[in-house]
Symmetry: C2
Subunit: 266 residues, 2 copies
């Protein structure tokens, strides 16, 4: 998504030229290119798919919407398996229209996990609940902290449900470091994502994620925390940023790789 | 601030006509009208000033900036005393330019409170740390949760330092209800403010607070929580909203009073 201006073949080629061996994919471009075609493309290029983004949106109270969401998530699980990734990232969903009941919405997320967890496990896929920044609590994700995500995940086996640690969403939270240790201790850090935080935020607050090093987050310190918690998996960089999307995608990918090495290389 | 389009004399007159007997003031309009003149204006009208907003901005690392901030806060304490309110609301300040050190900035807030608490107490004024929504953590307020605000406040006597509970900033936080009880048990709920949460947020995310009832917050439930925690003081409504500011201020004030009764009246 960091370079969504690239087609999947362009992305795969650019990764190859930069020596990037792992890539996180979103469902929409995969569907546009074709699921089997994408699986073949990355396999032939020797690329490993780190995660598939995203499932979720579990908070509808309406039974029909709810059943549709579960069906869609079962498809997402199958897609993840086809792409060869073991992790499906979940964004929980916001409040249903007119609702003011955050605890109720969070409970419906748990209900959905109970239905999907075993299905995911049978497909060799782990679900990773991603807490989003509290500014998204009403319209996108009622799970706002890593503690909440773990409270949900721990109702299920770690092989079925864990969490995504994304610096953009968690950097402000003084409890997050302790929760990262908690997540690591139970083997539930299923995915780690980086983006930097900068202001002013754009209208709608969706596409203001900053390039690594351009914001307020001590990224090296956050990576040290997930490492100390035992995480040895891939690190994704996920930047939603209109200005990056307006630029040449290959250049943005190269810049991002260079920033990663500059700010996080040893 | 909800009706900043009104001059202070217009505001006082409009309050009188609506039967509003308490008003929260900001320093800037008070300074514009004159401190002594404002004190006389509200006194003559029989209005009680609930709080003065706002002191704070304690996070500068530069010694000169730091001394200037402390001096300005001593003036704010004196202004609060002159206006007859016992509460000065504090917004802690964001990260200094270029800094990525949230814990360090939070510790400088504590240092400032240690210097200002006794001064405030001598003037009969309590300091009320206001946690702001985490979306303001980098550029406005490094204190993002009620738990953090209480961790700071509890280093000092409750007569000196407490907290502001503002629904707009806290509504997403599943830990906030427990923290409200904690704040009430130690007599530290010094101020309560209401605004509703609606999306999409405007660019800069400052002026999107929704009129009571137009958003996602179960306001009645939050007021019940502060009441259960023993709070019997005034309830302020603080709406930063460009659309409300563009309308006739008397009409907005009347609408706000009506909304308060509709959504929170018994």
């Amino acid at each position: 998504m960091t370079v969504r201006q690239l087609t999947l073949p362009e992305l795969v080629e650019a990764c190859g030229r930069l020596g990037v061996t792992h890539v996180g994919l979103w469902r929409e471009p995969v569907a546009a290119h074709g699921l089997e075609a994408t699986a073949g493309l990355v396999r032939d290029a020797g690329l490993t798919v780190t995660t598939l983004c995203r499932g979720g949106f579990f908070t509808a109270a309406d039974p029909g919407e709810r059943a549709a969401a579960l069906a869609d998530n079962r498809r997402a699980i199958e897609e993840a398996a086809t792409l060869g990734t073991d992790t499906l990232v979940l964004v929980s969903g916001g409040l249903p229209a007119g609702s003011k009941d955050l605890p109720g919405a969070r409970e419906r997320v748990a209900d959905a996990l109970a239905e999907l967890g075993p299905y995911a496990q049978r497909h060799g896929v782990r679900l990773a609940i991603e807490p989003l920044h509290p500014m998204y609590a009403s319209d996108r994700c009622v799970v706002s902290t890593l503690a909440q995500a773990l409270d949900l995940a721990e109702r299920f086996p770690a092989e079925q449900v864990g969490v995504t640690v994304d610096t953009y969403h968690l950097w402000w939270d003084d409890q997050a470091p302790r929760q990262i240790a908690r997540a690591g201790a139970s083997g539930r850090i299923h995915s780690v994502q980086l983006a930097d935080w900068a202001t002013p935020l754009p209208a709608g607050v969706l596409n203001g994620r900053a390039q690594l090093g351009d914001g307020s987050i001590d990224l090296r310190r956050w990576l040290a925390r997930v490492a100390a918690a035992g995480y040895t998996g891939p690190i994704e960089v996920e930047l939603f940023n209109e200005r990056l999307w307006a630029r040449d995608g290959r250049e943005v990918l190269a810049e991002t790789a260079a920033r990663f090495l500059a700010h996080l290389g040893t």
